[in-house]
């Protein structure tokens, strides 16, 4: 108000331009809002489960990949990481998921170089790195097969809210492992962002990964 006092009376008597200015701004604001809410191009929508971007993906503990090299998610900042918890004696869900990962990688084309695919074993007693090497080589040697000690496997899966349980059901294949069959995606900042049920559409998974790469 005090800044208005020196303004000459002549100008004060004709506030019309000021009102017009405000009106124009208001109209622009309304139009922009309308465009924003109604007409703007649809943002990328995640069709499966998504998490709050601040939900940091729990880190692995003492993990090695199938070649015995230390493996941690923090080494993959700037990349998008697909994560699956499985085991090599699994006849159905795990091969199906790795088949899906293969399709996602194919759908990604050149972007695949910035995407890592990781299977973490929930059965470290039977899944040695050597066994993981052979298992993953069958699908794609560039996939990672990660194992931890039994204790670390339990601790990390708890942090991820991943359920698994060993069941002796008198199968000739040894004990069976009940396990979570969803897969997860970690974004470039290390946040747990997406989850997919088994059987999710692999083109959608690839386009989600591309979106996260371009964020």
């Amino acid at each position: 108000m005090s800044t208005e006092s020196p303004v000459p009376p002549a100008k004060r008597s004709s506030p019309a331009p000021w009102i017009i200015g405000v009106s124009v701004l208001a109209v622009i604001a309304i139009a922009a809002s309308a465009w924003w809410f109604l007409l703007r191009p649809e943002p990328h929508e995640f069709q499966y489960g998504s998490y709050d971007p601040s939900d940091v993906a729990p880190e692995l503990q003492g993990a090695v990949d199938q070649h015995g090299e230390p493996f941690s998610f923090s080494d993959y900042r700037g990349k998008v990481v697909f994560v699956y918890f499985g085991y090599t004696h699994c006849p159905d869900a795990c091969p199906a998921t790795l088949d899906e990962f293969m399709e996602v990688k194919e759908n990604l084309g050149d972007d695949a170089k910035d995407v890592a695919f990781v299977m973490i074993t929930v059965d470290p007693s039977r899944d040695s790195p050597e066994r993981m090497t052979e298992y993953l080589d069958f699908w794609d040697p560039e996939f990672y097969g990660v194992s931890m000690s039994q204790e670390d496997t339990e601790s990390v899966t708890r942090a991820w809210n991943i359920y698994f349980a060993y069941q002796d059901k008198n199968s000739q294949g040894g004990y069976l492992v009940d396990h979570e069959v969803s897969s997860f995606v970690i974004d470039k900042d290390g946040s747990k962002r997406l989850t997919y049920p088994l059987g999710a559409d692999t083109k959608t998974m690839a386009s989600d990964a591309e979106f996260l790469l371009n964020e």
Binding site: T88, H89, P91, P124, Y135, M148, E151, V181
Partner: protein, 208 residues
């Protein structure tokens, strides 16, 4: 937009809550301890399973007859043993169980063996199941007797049964949509270990 975000948050909260319950269950259900060889899940009879590689076969069986039949056993040269497994899914957790009494095929009904459902589990495959190849699988039914299927190996499940084999008739039964998923035979692993000594698994390595 705000509403859908609220809805999404609700769904996520539910998902996290339910998986947290699963996590708690995991702690209680694990029938082993923490990292000690004695408490590892490796029972002695499971030692034999160390080196095994698994495969799975799928098909549908339609029973056009007036009485129920039962798939009692399955054999193949491609595996050391074969079991019929049931899979149940609960909140994205998959649980497999062998059907020790076989699989009933009710009269007039179709029973599907499919991913995340019933499957034929090949235990100890003798060679890798390579997409494009095929192998023989013999089903033994209580009434319809034996029928041998030629099972094509596919890379992945197709939407329209493309690449699957069948139909094959066996008495009143018709078996169709026959396929097997590709799978590797793993040669390395623990096989080179001295089986007489305690299991040198990641579980038994010293804990920090």
């Amino acid at each position: 937009m705000k509403r859908s975000r609220t809805l999404l948050t609700g769904i996520i909260t539910l998902a996290i809550a339910s998986s947290a319950i699963g996590g708690v269950a995991a702690q209680h259900d694990h029938n082993h301890g923490h990292g000690t060889p004695e408490a590892s899940p490796m029972a002695e009879h499971d030692m034999a399973s160390m080196d095994l590689s698994m495969g799975a076969a799928y098909f549908t069986i339609t029973n056009n007859g007036d009485e129920a039949d039962r798939l009692v056993s399955v054999t193949t040269d491609m595996a050391e043993a074969v079991e019929i497994h049931e899979v149940t899914m609960d909140n994205n957790v998959m649980e497999m169980s062998p059907l020790h009494d076989g699989l009933e095929i009710p009269a007039g009904e179709e029973v599907s063996l499919e991913p995340s459902g019933y499957h034929i589990m090949l235990i100890g495959i003798t060679e890798s199941l390579i997409a494009g190849e095929e192998y023989d699988l013999t089903l033994t039914f209580e009434h319809a007797g034996d029928v041998t299927l030629t099972v094509p190996i596919l890379r992945t499940e197709s939407d329209d049964n493309e690449g699957t084999a069948g139909p094959v008739e066996a008495g009143d039964l018709v078996i169709d949509g026959i396929w097997s998923r590709q799978a590797p035979k793993i040669d390395s692993g623990m096989g080179d270990m001295d089986m007489g000594t305690p299991v040198a698994s990641p579980a038994s390595t010293p804990q920090s």
